[in-house]
Amino acid sequence: MILSIDRSIIFQIINFLILVALLFRFLFKPVVQTLDKRSNHIQEEMNKIEKEKKVAEELRLKYEEESKNIHIKYQEMMELANQEAVKIKSKIIDEAYQESEKIKQTAEEKARIEIDKLFTELKMDIIDISTEMAAKLLRERIDTSKQDQLIEQLLEEAISKIEIKSEAQYG
């Protein structure tokens, strides 16, 4: 039965094995090596990408942190600026108020001086007119009889004063 196996089949198997061996030696191995190399290269690239990704992530986190800090700093600066603006505003309002009060006081003082001046002028005018009128009346009404009375009365007063003074001075 065994002997009955066709020799050609045995040759074909041997050929096949040889072919497999040859294929393995000259085709499969280089292909596998190439694929390994390719795989290694891809792995390296992947590692590299992973590394860069990691670096990028670190950078992103760093920028994010810096951005956050900048934002906080910006907020602080804005807060300070606002406080400063409020202070300046308050100062300007205060200064303006003081200036206006000063102007008001000066104007009031000027007005008061002007009124006083006018009042004094008016008073002087009234006194001058009154004195002038009184002098005119006296000039018209003084006659010898009134002059007699005036000399008597006024001279008596003056002489009495001189006498009193003289007595006080000389005992």
Binding site: K123, M124, I127, T131, A134, A135, L138, R139, I142, D143, T144, K146, Q147, D148, L150, I151, E152, L154, L155, E156, E157, A158, I159, I162, E163, S166
Partner: protein, 78 residues
């Protein structure tokens, strides 16, 4: 002629003085000086308004209404 010892007394009035007025003035002046040693000079000054101004040596007795009025005016101003 006036004695050198006699003193000039100037009487200034707004109207010419009557004898009665002169006598009155002399009578009053006799209380403060020797009337016999006085020589009276009269002068009329209408601006005095009334009363009399007597200049007696260095003494000035101003009894004029003009001065009274001015004093009154000063009193009002003050």
């Amino acid at each position: 002629m006036v004695s050198s010892k006699k003193e000039i007394v100037k009487l200034i009035t707004p109207l010419p003085m009557t004898e009665s007025q002169k006598n009155k003035v002399k009578s009053k002046l006799s209380r403060i000086g020797d009337i016999n040693q006085m020589v009276f000079q009269e002068e009329v000054d209408p601006s005095l308004l009334g009363g009399i101004v007597i200049i007696f040596g260095e003494m000035l007795i101003d009894c004029s209404l003009k001065t009274q009025l001015e004093k009154m005016k000063e009193g009002i101003i003050i």
